[in-house]
Symmetry: C2
Subunit: 256 residues, 2 copies
């Protein structure tokens, strides 16, 4: 929340009270799972991208999509709503005041920002290489940080990230949406790395390969020669049409 | 939302703006899956139980628990947050006005009720027989209605119920929480009826029985003689300790 928006903007525009959105944007690169974070100006405090909902113009999802595009430059991103954070202890007035004052602003003109917010958590799965991270006017850094190296976060953003990861892990068994994190073509090892990073454990190679191929959504391309000591590995491409068919079926099937 | 609360209450207490909670309370009885609904006074409009969040005193879950207890008389209920409904078309001022006027009240003293609300959907799983449904002061009926006989609903409550059912179906594979819908002891047929009702389809009897017994959380009791033409069937009891152990394990395992 509060990131794109300067005090001036808030005075001009009318947002819903007491409700914000925060977005855990996952990207995968060099076999690392990363999250997009902002750092507030002149502080060592990091935070998730987030924002508010325009009272007259935006559905909640439209607000989330706007924030995503503002921070990453990309559109049409895979999104899941994974939790609502509504503790009464989320009374963040003092932190908001500190952040604004560090950025050379004041909350006096806009006490609205210091009220209690219930925030709705979304996660997004993006191809990291397509993004151009863009800080807002109370932050001086916006970039990708490895999930194993998350710095000190403002507010309750640490527990929001933990919940997002938990939901992502649960989703691995239910949906194939994690393919949104992969580039156009990839090796089976690349894909296994992604699953291992999300699950936080090593997987058995032949089992993983068998399971993935059995889904029937991977198209095998040519072999890829890395030039290293390893054998050339097959590249795979994700078959979006088959994937869409399967998603439809998944909605209607159940393991009984 | 807006159910327990009279205009007078709203004037006295301070609730968060723009955010409400709505609860799909599932109960199971006579092999039927039911939902608790209210009917607004002097109308044929039904709605889900719901309410608002006390600004100073309540976490969002505490508000949900309060509403649940007010409408059912019971506490410590299994709850899941399943979705957020934040369309800008949820501008329900006119409907709220109609409901209040039908109940002999006015919204003029309290225009707060006619603002835009983003609502957070929870579902609850209860043992229907333990509840004592209790209408609020704008409704003249509060009771259990079969999910196949849902009447005309106010607001977007129909789509909230559909989403809740969809989440409940997904949960069948992930968690064993549906046992909260069963009485202390039950036959395998009773349990199968519950699953069939939630899934909306018939299941194969021997497969179902094998899967259920393999979970290791059912304790077999004596046979139960119904007095009918059928054979006596075993009664089962749900082993809560084993269930709790499994839930912990489930959090840490994954199907790879």
């Amino acid at each position: 929340m509060h990131k794109k928006i300067a005090d001036e903007d808030l005075l001009g525009e009318k947002f819903l009270s007491n409700i914000s959105v925060d977005i855990v944007i996952f990207g995968f690169h060099n076999r690392q799972l990363k999250i997009l974070l902002l750092r507030f100006k002149n502080t060592s405090l990091y935070a998730l991208p987030g924002g508010f909902i325009n009272e007259e113009e935006e559905d909640i999802e439209e607000a989330v999509e706007r924030v995503l595009t503002e921070r990453t430059g990309i559109k049409d991103i895979y999104l899941e709503q994974f939790g609502v954070f509504g503790s009464k202890k989320r009374a963040f007035g003092a932190t908001h005041k500190h952040i604004h004052e560090s950025a050379g602003k004041t909350t006096e003109l806009n006490p609205w920002i210091t009220q209690r917010f219930v925030t709705v958590g979304y996660y997004a799965l993006v191809n990291l290489k397509e993004t151009v991270p863009n800080p807002d006017d109370v932050s001086d850094f916006c970039g990708w940080i490895d999930i194993n190296e998350i710095p000190t976060l403002a507010f309750d953003h640490k527990s929001i990230i933990e919940k997002a990861l938990e939901s992502l892990r649960m989703m691995l068994d239910l949906k194939l949406a994690v393919f949104n994190l992969m580039p156009e073509s990839f090796t089976m090892n690349d894909l296994q790395s992604l699953y291992e990073t999300i699950l936080g454990k090593k997987l058995q190679r032949t089992n993983f390969q068998r399971k993935m191929l059995s889904l029937g959504i991977l198209e095998r391309l040519d072999k890829h020669w890395t030039g290293g000591a390893h054998k050339a590995a097959y590249l795979y491409r994700f078959d979006k049409n088959k994937y869409n068919e399967m998603q439809k079926e998944e909605m209607n099937t159940n393991k009984f």
